[in-house]
């Protein structure tokens, strides 16, 4: 996967399953080996980006806080589906920066530009 780019598609809400945490682990592993990684958030996955969350209240390790380390792993391409935000009446306030909000068609086209796609 020398110069190939991986897309990780997040579709689950943060706390009721381990999908979000597992996908974060994969992203950081690829990032630490300097493999290109882009993150996509769609459907319930957009709930991973909203601010003021606190996994501690559920006695869970709050993996969302690790999102702030993305830039140290050169993970800079982060995309979120506009329709998924609108459906859930969410604003574009996120707990991380430089999130690109794309309408569904552009979101799909951007995803297609990647060599390998993992969905969580």
């Amino acid at each position: 996967m020398a110069n190939k780019v991986l897309a990780i598609l997040n579709s689950k809400a943060p706390y009721s399953s381990t999908f979000g945490k597992d996908s974060l682990d994969i992203a950081l592993i690829f990032g630490s080996y300097e493999q290109g990684v882009s993150l996509f958030f769609q459907g319930e996955g957009v709930f991973q980006l909203i601010p003021n969350q606190d996994g501690q209240q559920l006695s869970m390790k709050d993996y969302l806080k690790t999102f702030s380390a993305f830039e140290f792993y050169d993970i800079e391409d982060i995309y979120v589906c506009l329709e998924s935000l609108q459906e859930r009446k969410l604003s574009n306030a996120f707990h991380i920066e430089k999130v690109n909000i794309l309408p569904a068609k552009e979101f799909a086209a951007k995803l297609k530009q990647h060599d390998c796609i993992l969905r969580f």
Partner: protein
């Protein structure tokens, strides 16, 4: 005959709240728990307020807070022990998950 409905799933990606809505009757109580807290922003809540009093719609306080969900003033925030007490006040409990 009041029934306690525990909804654990978000209506944005599942049918549980809709199906609960279809069997809900006026004396029932609805508790939003776990990912059910995301339903605080779903349009179905308005339909539910037509069937039961808003006083009968409650959400688990720390589940909503953990998910950064805003709880409207007219919806009561309760603890898990409150939930346990409620199970003794109703004839039936249905968990929608």
């Amino acid at each position: 005959m009041a029934t306690l409905h525990l909804v654990r799933k978000s209506a944005f990606n599942s049918q549980e709240l809709l199906q609960c809505c279809q069997v809900l009757t006026s004396l029932d109580i609805l508790i939003l728990i776990d990912d059910g807290c995301y339903n605080l922003n779903h349009d179905l809540l308005a339909d539910i307020k037509e069937i039961i009093s808003v006083k009968h719609i409650k959400v688990i306080k720390h589940h909503a807070a953990a998910r950064g969900q805003y709880v409207p003033k007219d919806i009561e925030r309760i603890s898990m022990s409150d939930l346990v007490s409620l199970t003794f006040e109703t004839e039936n409990v249905i968990t929608w998950q």
